[in-house]
């Protein structure tokens, strides 16, 4: 088996330099903040004295003038996924290992590209040059990786025949062993792969079990681990912006239901079950919230998937207001593979009839006509945040929207800025009395809501609820 290893060191830093070219030649730290202490995930080439895993404080003490960049891990994965896709043009057997490391089965590929040099050139050309990839070629994944490590950027190294000698001076921290095994090996004075090969395999196996055997074999350059090529999975992705930023679990559930309906409505889903739903929420002022829901044995309609999501959302919910929701369905199986339940419910005719009515009404009036109202926070002081209306037809952009949305209104103000007249249907009505007044200030929201409400009675005895929004200093009529 001929394996090529593509190694892109400091992928995060290279990606950040691509995004922020002005940082070229300057020190910079890429900080992962999701951990207990902000830690260095990577650093720019001009940064001195810093290592990956240092705390931000330590790193700053070594490199005080560094620019600080918050890590954008999803983006790094996205860039690496693009690299893997490009590499699939060189070989259809591509394995994405950890971020920045890929393996390709290149058996016979040299002939395809003329010779080994041609293959190496093809590999390097597949990868954007600013990523400075290194290539290693060997008979197994581990030796290929070690060869890549010894290569210069944009160059390739082929593992020599005496692999053990090549590896002897390399530290055992490069072996894919658990940290605990590495620490134990250090305690016995085993620091390099040469130290490991000096002991017998059986002794190592006695002491360290399978890890001992693996260490011995890899230190000799033996690695017959099969390549795990990327699967060509089809994922279904649906997303939407929330009608307003909210932490309401009920609102999230409503949005997920809409997205599930859309996903399951796709023709491709007919006869298929999904085994996994990934939900990602973009939050205000906090890192994204992600959750994977495993569905066993699989959901073949949106209701089944919604039930699973609903039960798990009771224990794990985003703690900051949600701005956008994205849902990804994957791990599909054919529905025929599922065992029918004896007590499966019959299809809901009522729903189907309602959907049919909605379709007809929508065709006739040109917009959605039937909605389901879902209470999400009945105690909320802003009425439009208390409930959502969800269209029976979930395909449109306005499938989910708030209820009782206030509308701007012209108001004449009197003493203490109280309303004295209000314009309704282009007619000014004098305010005869203010029968109630209340106020609230949701100062902590990303867009604070500060309102003073007036229940006014006009000359004709009509009651109207108005409020002055103290953020934009405008008047609104609060629809019921």
């Amino acid at each position: 088996m001929q394996i090529a290893c593509i190694l892109i060191t400091h992928l995060e830093a290279k990606v950040e330099l691509r995004r922020h070219p002005q940082l070229q030649g300057k020190p910079g730290l890429i900080i992962a903040r999701g951990t207990r202490r902000p830690q260095v995930l990577d650093y720019l080439p001009s940064t001195r004295g810093v290592t990956v895993g240092m705390t931000l404080e330590q790193a700053i003490s070594y490199s005080p003038t560094s620019h600080i960049l918050d890590a954008d891990v999803p983006y790094y994965h996205k860039v690496f996924a693009q690299v893997l896709t490009a590499l699939q043009g060189v070989s259809d057997q591509v394995e994405g290992a950890e971020l920045g490391t890929a393996f390709l089965d290149v058996a016979g590929a040299a002939n395809l590209y003329g010779n080994v040099a041609g293959l190496e050139r093809a590999l390097l050309e597949a990868i954007p040059p600013d990523l400075n990839a290194r290539i290693g070629l060997a008979e197994g994944k581990f030796p290929a990786y070690m060869a890549a490590r010894s290569a210069q950027p944009l160059q390739a190294v082929t593992m020599p025949a005496d692999t053990a000698a090549f590896l002897a001076a390399q530290p055992i921290r490069l072996l894919p062993l658990a940290a605990e095994i590495r620490i134990r090996m250090h305690r016995f004075g085993l620091y390099t792969m040469g130290d490991v090969t000096r002991l017998s395999r059986r002794l190592l196996q006695d002491q360290f079990g399978p890890a001992g055997k693996l260490a011995w074999e890899l230190s000799h350059g033996w690695d017959d681990t099969p390549l795990e090529p990327l699967a060509h999975n089809t994922n279904i992705v649906e997303g939407m912006a929330m009608p307003f930023h909210t932490t309401s679990v009920e609102a999230l559930q409503a949005a997920l239901d809409v997205l599930l309906k859309r996903a399951f409505a796709r023709p491709w889903m007919r006869g298929r079950c999904t085994g996994q739903v990934d939900v990602s929420c973009m939050l205000s002022g906090m890192p994204s919230w992600e959750h994977t829901f495993h569905i066993h044995p699989g959901a073949q309609n949106w209701e089944q998937a919604s039930y699973v999501l609903g039960t798990q959302l009771e224990t794990d919910v985003p703690e900051a207001p949600i701005e956008e929701v994205t849902l990804t369905l994957s791990h599909f199986t054919m529905a025929g593979g599922l065992q029918m339940g004896l007590l499966d419910k019959a299809p809901d005719d009522r729903k189907q009839r309602l959907e049919e009515v909605e379709r007809r009404l929508a065709t006739r009036f040109g917009s959605h006509a039937l909605y389901q109202v879902v209470e999400i926070a009945p105690w909320h002081p802003a009425p439009e945040r208390r409930a959502l209306q969800i269209s029976l037809d979930t395909t449109g952009q306005d499938a989910i929207k708030p209820v009782a949305v206030p509308t701007p209104v012209a108001v004449r103000e009197g003493a203490q800025r109280q309303p004295v007249a209000v314009q309704l249907k282009k007619r000014w009505l004098d305010v005869a009395a203010i029968s109630d007044r209340w106020t609230f200030d949701l100062w902590w929201l990303p867009q604070p809501l500060t309102r003073t409400y007036y229940e006014v009675v006009s000359g004709d005895g009509r009651h109207t609820t108005l409020f002055r929004d103290q953020q934009d200093d405008c008047w609104y009529r609060q629809n019921a």
């Binding site: 202490r37 931000l56 003490s61 016995f188 004075g189 059986r202 909320h380 200030d441 949701l442 990303p446």
Partner: protein
């Protein structure tokens, strides 16, 4: 006409997580608004007495009340009209607490029984009546009102109307007003006050969310998100209720009915001691004393007789016999526990089996010594009776009882049982917010990432939330957060919450005994520890109420002394009687004055070591001064310690600011050393009574006391002027007082004796002293490595643990300390016990694998044993021992027997660990290296110009030197803001370096290193040496040393 209004429904921070104002803030605001009365209706009575006393000081009428949550989660408000009504209120809270100690809920069935002499306000929007009115259940609402009227009487019920500009308030008030008219029940306006000023509403919102451990958004349903729950002016309230003026007028009517003032005598009395029929307490006490004196002294000598007569006269005069006998009862309970637990050496006579020792005034009392509440023979130590109690005082003497650690917890339970939980209750403790708590609570409510909040808390150098913004700006990880959403609000709100009451906890050991049920005076509830009961009041309120607090405290040095004496008895065959040792032994004082008292109770801190060398104590009085001088309250007086030494030891003269200071300050050589001097100073200069002066002293030690201090200062100034003291001098004298802790005089004598006894043991029985010291860690200032170094200097070597020789604890072995297995990381007491038991049963272990087979020890513990050198006797090569340990299969988690798949291939040829590796391993698993010191290994890395600690002594003052070592303690004295003293330990000794604030700020990070290199100039004073440091460098070691502590 000026509107008159009294707020009858107000909460403070004491309604933990609900109110957002200090009691004094409410009162000050009320006073500014022209109120003549104010009610405090917290969800408990924690702040009730404090509020009443503050109100009295400000000449406002305090009304005591409370807001009770019922079992259906609705609320109502109760106000006490009289002492009896207050007792009912307290009992209702106790009933509610009994149902759920953390979220008290009252079953309304209890209301009728306790309704007398109380006024019921039906409650705000969360009341049952409001809910019924809102749901238009008029019939049920009317029935409820009638029920209330039946219970509380026709003039005892008011329908509460609130207009806080929340949606629905107007409609609800309308419905309630109608109901009240229908039933002929009067209405009353309240504002459901949660904070004194509108600006606090954000803090209140955040606290409400934090109480529910959630974010503001998710707690929205429980929050009133507008600023109208503040105290309003009478005019504002009159405007709000202009359509219902009787609701305003009724507030005044109710205030007139609630004339009960909590700051009065609650008729508290101590319980009577157990006596034989016909006996009186003094007779019983006398009999006990004479009998014990016969035993102690062999005969009643004239000296004993005369002293006892003098004491009996004083005890009778102050009616203290019963009080002392109660202490004796407690000591006897402790003695029983001690015997049951086998904590006493069986050969010790029962009369000498003292389970605890008095800390306060009792040490000056021969009767106290004879009945067993003191360990000090006052005749032997020359203690005069004036230290017990002054002739003209009416306060109970201050007596604390210290007990060994293992005894106190059980004792508290037994005392509850003995006197009954209604009659013996622990004092509460009000935990207050510091910067860390603020960050955690507010940060979570503001939706900030938990990990970052934890990180920020750990990085703070100050406990003061007022400086949060500056601190964050100084941190690279947070400087860009200060203006970020959420963080910005945290920074703004933190100062408002600093020092605010956070929760009710329990005092460490303050016990209140009473002859009548305590729940009639203050609510009680079960403590967090099963079997304990605590009250709503903290030590300050307890003192204000004149309750007698008996402190049952834990003092680890007692465990150490007891263990050391047992070891001496085992080795030498006799047990020294510490009460009869020579009190003026020069050898002991040489030890103290030579800076060799590390590990000695109260005399071991670097500051004490230095003071010992300067003060050169030679008797108990010197020692009492010595232990009293290194207290925060003395430290706060600038260079008071140095001035004292100059005056006391070098006869330097000093001047008083006014001759009236003389009586108070003379015994402190012009310095305030003891609490009593503060009282005397206030009396003599400020023309105050003893009680007034003591109140001022206590006011200084309270949190959020600025308003109190201002009031007392004014009174002091008036008194001083009356005494002929000029304003300038009076101010100067008042400024000498601070609220930081200092000893009462009698405490320093009692502690001085205990310290002397510990020093005596170190002097004459160092082996036993160190064994007991290590076995009772943690109990002091230093890491064990430092104590080990000190022991080596006393000729007591430490030996590595050994699986075949060590016991669970450390034991003496051939003149040295054999370390116990328990000390080894991951081994712990249970595994150590198993190792020792198995060895005793089936003989010595031959190898690590043998030990695993026989004990099933976990692999991590086995590894630690090898690294600690516990197998050196069987396997001198630790790597081979490790290999052997790794070959043995571990048993399963639930005792499942391991499959015996033994390898017969043995170990490969492995070289042993280097000495460095052994040292690093031993530090990592034991925190000490018995054979040497880290600096032995580091020394070759430094040039000859880097001196060892003892070599510094030979360098003249003013010379620049460099030293290197392990920083073992960092002290931040209170009186010297920003200055830090660091004790550096090397292989030969230790040296103190001083960092001025700017140097400390620059070198703060380096000081956290395991080894540092410091450069500075030598400074000498009274034979002590300090290096005034100009630069500190971190030196990398890769050795896991125990962390140094910061002492503030």
């Amino acid at each position: 006409m000026t509107a008159v209004y009294v707020e009858l429904h107000a909460k403070s921070f004491y309604s933990f997580g609900t109110g957002a104002a200090h009691t004094h803030e409410l009162l000050v605001q009320a006073q500014q608004y022209g109120y003549h009365a104010l009610a405090l209706t917290d969800t408990n009575l924690c702040g009730a007495l404090e509020f009443a006393r503050q109100a009295n000081t400000m000449e406002l009428q305090p009304i005591t009340g409370g807001e009770l949550t019922l079992t259906d989660d609705t609320r109502l408000t109760l106000l006490a009209r009289s002492r009896r009504g207050y007792a009912h209120l307290s009992q209702l809270f106790t009933r509610a607490n009994a149902r759920d100690r953390q979220e008290p809920r009252l079953d309304p069935v209890h209301l009728p029984a306790y309704a007398e002499d109380m006024i019921l306000l039906t409650g705000g929007r969360q009341s049952r009546l409001s809910l019924l009115a809102q749901q238009e259940q008029t019939g049920a609402a009317r029935r409820l009102l009638r029920e209330y009227r039946d219970w509380f009487g026709p003039d005892g019920v008011y329908v509460e109307l609130q207009q806080n500009f929340a949606q629905g308030d107007t409609e609800r008030n309308r419905a309630l007003y109608q109901l009240a008219r229908l039933e002929g029940v009067p209405v009353v306006a309240t504002n459901d006050v949660h904070y004194h000023q509108a600006e606090r509403f954000r803090l209140q919102n955040v606290l409400a969310a934090a109480k529910r451990n959630t974010t503001l958004d998710q707690a929205l349903r429980y929050i009133t998100p507008n600023p109208h729950l503040c105290l309003k002016t009478p005019a504002q309230m009159a405007r709000l209720f202009r359509h219902c003026p009787e609701a305003i007028a009724n507030t005044v009517r109710i205030a007139q009915q609630c004339q009960f003032n909590l700051d009065v005598n609650l008729n508290y009395m101590l319980p009577a001691p157990e006596l034989a029929p016909g006996d009186t307490p003094i007779q019983f006490l006398q009999r006990l004393c004479y009998k014990a004196a016969q035993y102690r002294y062999g005969a009643i000598t004239p000296q004993v007789e005369s002293r006892l007569q003098e004491e009996f006269h004083l005890i009778e005069h102050h009616d203290l016999a019963g009080f002392l006998l109660l202490y004796r009862e407690i000591v006897q309970i402790a003695q029983t526990i001690m015997e049951e637990k086998g904590m006493v050496h069986p050969d010790t006579p029962r009369a000498e089996r003292l389970p605890g020792r008095g800390r306060g005034s009792s040490v000056a009392l021969l009767a106290g010594y004879l009945i067993g509440i003191s360990h000090v023979d006052p005749l032997k130590w020359g203690l005069t009776l004036e230290r017990f109690i002054a002739e003209d005082t009416n306060q109970l003497p201050d007596i604390d009882l210290d007990f060994p650690r293992g005894l106190r917890d059980e004792l508290i339970l037994r005392v509850h049982e003995h006197f009954g939980p209604e009659f013996a209750v622990l004092t509460g403790a009000i935990m207050t917010y510091t910067a860390k708590g603020i960050i955690q609570d507010l940060g979570k409510a503001l939706g900030l990432p938990r990990e970052e909040l934890t990180h920020l808390s750990k990085q703070l150098s100050s406990r003061d939330g007022h400086h949060l913004r500056e601190e964050m700006l100084a941190m690279v990880a947070f400087r860009d957060r200060v203006e970020a959403p959420g963080w910005r609000e945290l920074v703004q709100l933190a100062p408002q919450l600093m020092g605010a009451p956070k929760l009710l906890s329990q005092h460490v050991g303050g016990l209140i005994l009473s002859s009548s049920p305590i729940s009639e005076m203050v609510p009680i509830r079960a403590g967090a520890i099963p079997g304990r009961y605590i009250m709503d009041w903290n030590k300050d309120s307890v003192a204000d109420a004149n309750f007698a607090k008996i402190d049952l405290l834990s003092l680890p040095v007692l465990d150490q002394l007891e263990e050391a004496l047992n070891l001496v008895q085992a080795r030498c065959g006799h047990r020294p009687d510490l009460t009869q040792i020579d009190p003026d032994d020069p050898a002991v004082y040489d030890l103290i004055n030579g800076g060799r008292s590390k590990g000695v109770f109260l005399l071991q801190s670097p500051a004490q070591l230095k003071l010992g060398q300067r003060l050169l104590s030679r008797n108990l009085l010197d020692l009492a001064y010595q232990v009293a001088l290194i207290r925060p309250g003395v430290g706060m007086q600038g260079s008071a310690v140095s001035q004292f030494v100059e005056r006391y030891r070098h006869n330097v003269e000093w001047d008083y600011d006014h001759p009236l200071e003389k009586r108070a300050l003379e015994r402190g050589y012009g310095i305030i050393v003891w609490q009593e001097q503060v009282v005397q100073l206030l009396m003599d200069v400020g023309d105050m009574t003893a009680a007034q002066a003591d109140e001022v002293r206590r006011a200084f030690s309270r949190r959020n006391n600025s308003h109190l201090i201002a009031a007392h200062k004014e009174r002091f100034m008036v008194g001083a002027l009356r005494q002929g003291v000029s304003q300038e001098i009076a101010l100067k004298i008042f400024d000498k007082i601070n609220g930081h802790y200092m000893f009462p005089e009698s405490h320093s004598h009692a502690f001085g004796i205990t310290a002397y006894q510990a020093a005596w043991l170190k002097c004459y029985y160092p082996l036993e002293f160190f064994v007991a010291l290590i076995n009772n860690q943690p109990m002091g200032f230093y890491p064990m490595e430092t104590l080990k170094q000190d022991a080596r200097r006393f000729g007591v070597p430490f030996r590595n643990p050994c699986v075949n020789r060590s016991e669970v604890q450390c034991v003496p072995e051939a003149g040295g300390v054999r370390l116990g297995l328990k000390l080894i990381k991951d081994v712990g007491p249970a595994a150590s016990q198993q190792i020792v038991m198995e060895r005793d049963l089936h003989g010595a272990y031959t190898s690590p694998s043998d030990l695993v087979r026989r004990t099933g020890l976990e692999s991590q513990a086995l590894l630690s044993l090898v690294q600690a050198g516990a197998f050196d006797a069987t396997h001198p090569n630790r790597r081979v021992a490790l290999w052997d340990a790794g070959l043995t299969p571990q048993p399963g988690r639930k005792g499942q027997v391991a499959l015996a798949l033994q390898s017969d291939r043995g170990a490969p040829p492995l070289s042993d660990f280097t000495d460095w590796e052994k040292m690093a391993g031993e530090y990592s698993v034991m925190g000490l290296y018995p054979k040497g010191h880290l600096m032995d290994f580091m020394r070759p890395r430094f040039s000859k110009s880097v001196l060892k600690a003892p070599e510094v002594e030979a360098v003249p003052e003013g010379e620049t030197v460099m030293v290197a070592g392990w920083p073992i303690a960092r002290q931040h004295p209170r009186g010297r803001a920003g200055t830090v003293f660091v004790t550096l330990e090397d292989e030969a000794g230790d040296i103190q370096i001083l960092l001025w604030p700017q140097v400390f700020e620059r070198c703060r990070q380096a000081l956290r290193s395991q080894v540092i290199l410091a450069k500075g100039v030598i400074s000498r004073w009274d034979g002590t040496t300090t290096i005034i440091t100009s630069d500190v460098r971190a030196v990398a070691t890769q050795v896991q040393m125990p962390g140094a502590h910061d002492w503030h």
